[in-house]
Amino acid sequence: MRAPEGVTGVGGKGTQEDIEVWLAEGYVTSFRTACLILGNRADAEEAVQEAFLRAWRFRTSLAPGSDVRPWLYRVVVNTCNSKLRSEIPHRDRRAGDGDLDRLAASGDDPAHVDQSGDVVRALQSLAVHLRVVIVLRYYADLSEREIATAIGRRPGTVKSRLHEARRQLALHPALRSLDEQAGHTDSEVAE
C-alpha cells in the first residue's frame, strides 16, 4: 500500500457507518504512520486509538465538505507529538528497540527485515518534526499542501523540512546504499 484510499467523508453529525468507513479506509495507514513516527507498536496503537476517538468526538468542527484525510492525520500527528513529549521520555526507551528486535526476529525475508529495522532506526535518528514530514510525504503520500495542513505550518516550511530530512537520511549509514538495494529489490520483483 503506497497511499491510503483517503478518508473522504464529510464533517457532520456522522453515524456508526461513518466511523466504520473512517476506520476501514484510514486505520491501517494511520497506525503504521504512527509506528514509523514513534518507533513503537504499542504506543502507536494507543496513539491512533486516541486520535480516532478525538477526531470522532470533534468531527463537527470540520467544515462540511472538507477533506477528512489531512485533518485526521493532523490529529494523529498531534497525538504522537503529545506522547513523545509527555509519556515516552519518562519511560524506558528500550521498549522501541524491542520492537525493532522483533522485526529482525520475524519469519519474513531476512534481507527485508534487516532493512526495515535499519529504516526505522534511521527515522528515529531524525528530529521529530523532520520525521513527521518524511513519513507523511513518502509513506502516507500526502501532498506538501496537505502536510502543511496536517502540521499547521506553511507549505514552504514543509518543503524545507523534507529537504533537510532527505539530506540527513542520505547521510545515515544504514541508508547510504539505499539506491543499490532498491535496484536489487526491483530486479527481484521483476523475476
Binding site: T33, F52, F58, R59, D141, Q181, A182
Partner: protein, 389 residues
Amino acid sequence: MTMIDEDPLRTVLARAADEFPVTDGAADRIAAAASTGDPKTGSVPSIVPRGRWGRVALVAAVVVVAAGGVTLLDGTPGPSPEHRIVAGPSTPATGTSGAVPSTTAPPGSNAPLVTPGTAGTATSSAGAGQPSNGATSAPPSSGQNGTATLPAPLPTGIVGQPTKVVTTGSIDLALGHDPLEPAVTRLTAIATGAGGYVAKSALQVGPSTGTVPSSGTLVLQVPQAAFDSVLTQVRSIGTVTSMTSTSTDVTGQYVDLQARIDALQASRQQYLTILSKATSIGDILSVQNQLDTIQSQIEELQGQLNLLDSQTTYATLTVSLSQSGHRPPPPAATPSGLGRAWHQSVSGFTSGVEWLVRIAGRTLFVLLCLAVFAVVGRWAWRAWRRQML
C-alpha cells in the same frame, strides 16, 4: 548536496511499515468506543468567525472597544480636587471639571490679564456697598441679613465630625472694552447677595482716553454652599481666560486641634484643683506658672481653630478683571475669492496636521495594545487548537 531519492525512500518506508502487524479487532474496539460518545459540539466553540469578513468584523469590534476604553480612561477625572481651566487669548480652551458646571471657556479675548496703569491707582478700604472706589469690608455677622444664606450642612465624616473643607478659587475675566466699574459693582452685589462679602479689592483705573487699560482684583468671601452658584454668576460678567478651583479637606486637622484643646483644658482644670489646695507661696507660684503656659497654648490653638472655622465657613474666590487697552484694528479689506480660498486651504491643512499630531499618541497606544492582544491571542488559539486535536 546529497539527498536520498524519493522512489527508493517510498519503497523502504512502505516495507518497514508493513512489518508492523495490525492487531486484530483494534479498529472494532475504536468503533465500539466511538459509538458510545456523542460528538462534542459544544466543546470546541469557535469564537473566531469563519470567513474573511467575519474576522474583519471581529477585529473592527476589538478596535472600537479598545479605542472606547482609551477614551473613557482619558476622560476620567483624576482624584485631585483641583480643577483648572485656562483659555488662551484666541483659542477655545477645554478641560476637565468636576465642581465647575461648564468646562469650556469662550474664546475671543485678546486683553492682557494685568496691564500696569500709569495713572489713577486706587486702593481703599471702604465698605462693601461702595465698590466703585475699591472696597474692603468686614464680614457680616451671623444672621445679619435674615435670609437663607447660611451654608448648608456638610456630610458627616467618619469621626462623627462634619466634614471641613477649605475651598479657594481664582478666575480671570477679560472685559473687552467694557468699563471696569460696573463689573466691580456687580461682583460686590453677587457676593453680598450670596451672604458673603468683598474681603479685598485693588483696582488700577486708566485715564478716560481709554488708551491705557484698567484692571483690578477682588477677593470675595462667600459661603461654602454658595460657591458654585457665585462662580457661575461671576463667569457671566466677562470672558473667562483662566479659572482654578481647589478644595482641601481639613477635617483631620480640625479634629486634632479640638482634641488638643480638650486635653489642655482638662489639664488646666486639674491645675486649678491643685491651686485651690496649695498652701505655700512657692507651690502657688509654681502652679500658676504652669497654668499660664497651658492657657497660652489653649489660646493659640483656639486661634487656629477659629481660623479654620472661618476658612471652612467661607470660600475664597479671587477675581481678576482686565480691560482691553486698544480698540481692535479695523478689519482688513475683504480678500478676493481666490485669496479667501487660499487662506481657508492653508487653515484647513494646518488643522489637519494638528489633528494628526494630536491623535497620534493615542492611536499608537491603541495599535500597540492591539498588536500585543493579537499576538497573544493567536498563540493561545493555536496552542488550544493543537491541544484539543
